[in-house]
Amino acid sequence: MSNHPTPLSIVRSEWIKFRTVRSTVWGVLTLIALTVGFGALISFASAGHYSQRDIEKLSFDPVLRSLSGLFFAQLVVGVIGALAITSEYGSGAIRSTLAAVPRRIELILAKASVLKITIFVIGEAVSFGAFSIGQMIFASTKVPLADRVFPELTHVPSASLGTPGVFLAVFLGGVALTLLALLGFFLGLIMRSTAASISVYVVSLLVLPILTIFLPSNWRNDISKFLPTNLFQGMIATHHSTDAFSPWMATGTLTFYVLVIGAIGLALFSRRDA
């Protein structure tokens, strides 16, 4: 019979599960609100401040400013990712899931695919959305003649996707959110508890950067560029500092983390009792 479970049927089943719980809907709405909404607010505020500080004018990065909301979104995608698996452990639903799909590796790959595709599509949409809205705000904010550092500039500088490196930065914004969602997912797979996995995720994103302050300064930059948040920042940067990885290096390193944590998660999951 050809109606035994296939990777596609498992993906279909996981997609039904993913979209039929309210936490997914809230997570996605929060994601949009933070990236597009909060991004627009920050773009608006920095456009207003542009005239007031000369230092601002020289270092003004319209791409990074418009994508500021993505930094907050890092937390949301990690939570969405972790919940995709920990909610099954919390409720016990993992047992009916495994009774239907006993091939555990295929099950996790299907779950990860649903998460990956969904967050990638939404992540790209909000990344490009936040970028476009931000640039529209900058381009429509006039700079008084007296405040102009560059006399030919009548408005706050804005970026276009055609400028070298810009398209890549905005595109990698969505990729970074996808990778971080997978990181949260695999942490959830390892820890099986919502609270534990979200705690570890938040610590690695927000607390580790603070801890690097206490490192000797000659080590600090070498180590801190490996932290997930800084990799994220490296991925969406258009101006490259020597302290950070290039966008591709940052993407590769974050992908490597996801693969390592994922391999550990899969190895544990295929052995453990459910």
């Binding site: 109606n3 089943s13 009774a99 006993p102």
Partner: protein
């Protein structure tokens, strides 16, 4: 068919199931009885491939669960009525299960109708009563129309009407030639539901047989009324019987059959007003069997205290 072959499951130092072997045959309802913590759920989890046996094997239709090509079309299980996402509707819960095994969605509505949940199909499962949860779990078990069915404590939380429905439903599933394996700690319910019984205690097999065999092996007592009760008691004691209870002119003897008592009374010229074998209920049989299992594998309480 479900087979356990010397299955042992340890969680750390705790032995949940020890060297358990039995076969559950199709065509009848097989009850799986044991006190709480006796290893019933662990055994069912091993059959479903959720827990890996430490040694031995658990097979369904001759295969390990993991190797089944069509899991839901071969085996259906209700392990825990609450084992679902509370925020998802009953219909979506079943649709997700159906989709994974390519079962058409029309079957989802069909099973919701069979278990009587069609009216609440779009309500969140988290708001269901325990009884409704059990019905949803049963709907999930029969979704793929499987030949092997496992139900862990299915009547928990059901009202009397629901219990009767489940009982008749299990009988009809077995009559269709399916293997129906039902665990319970409710002996009285099993007496009505099951034909075969597997009794375990402390993770070990105690008895395997039909319900009538198991109640017959339990040592029932015999109620006797006689005007010469003291004389009779001496005679019975000489034959190895003992007094189970004593009230005025009525006495209950244990460890001896009614036939032996009748012959003994005739030999000694003792008049009998009543001679009634007291049939042990399944519940008494069960208590007797599991009590002895606790004795032979249990630790004295004083030692257990500082363990």
């Amino acid at each position: 068919m479900i087979q356990l072959e010397h299955a042992t499951k340890k969680y750390g130092d705790t032995i949940a199931v020890h060297d358990l072997s039995f076969t559950v045959e199709p065509g009848v309802v097989t009850g799986f009885l044991g006190p709480n913590g006796s290893g019933k759920s662990t055994t069912m989890r091993m059959v479903l491939g959720l827990d890996r046996p430490t040694s031995g094997r658990a097979l369904v239709n001759g295969k390990r669960y993991h190797d089944l090509t069509n899991p839901l079309r071969e085996v259906g299980a209700l392990l825990d009525a609450k084992a679902l996402h509370p925020g998802r509707s009953a219909r979506n819960h079943l649709r997700a299960l159906a989709a994974s095994n390519k079962i058409p969605f029309s079957r989802v509505d069909e099973v919701l109708g069979i278990v009587g949940l069609d009216a609440v199909a779009n309500k969140k499962a988290g708001g269901f009563s325990l009884g409704m949860g059990q019905r949803l779990g049963i709907a999930g078990a029969i979704l793929g129309d499987p030949g092997v069915l496992l139900f862990d404590e299915p009547v928990n939380g059901l009202d009397p009407e629901g219990i009767r429905w489940v009982r008749e439903f299990f009988h009809s599933l077995a009559a269709e030639g399916r293997t129906v394996f039902v665990s319970s700690h409710l002996m009285s319910e099993m007496a009505l539901t099951a034909h075969q019984l597997i009794v375990i205690g402390r993770g070990e097999l105690i008895r395997h047989g039909t319900v009538s065999e198991l109640t017959a092996t339990a040592t029932g007592s015999v109620l006797v009324r006689s005007p010469q009760i003291d004389e009779l008691t001496v005679a019975i004691a000489a034959l190895g019987g003992s007094v189970a209870s004593h009230r005025d002119d009525a006495i209950e003897f244990a460890g001896i059959t009614a036939e032996q008592i009748g012959v003994a009374a005739l030999d000694r010229g003792i008049a009998l007003y009543e001679l009634t074998p007291q049939r042990a209920s399944l519940e008494e049989a069960f208590m007797e069997m599991t009590a002895s299992s606790v004795e032979f594998s249990g630790q004295p309480l004083s030692e257990g205290n500082h363990a």
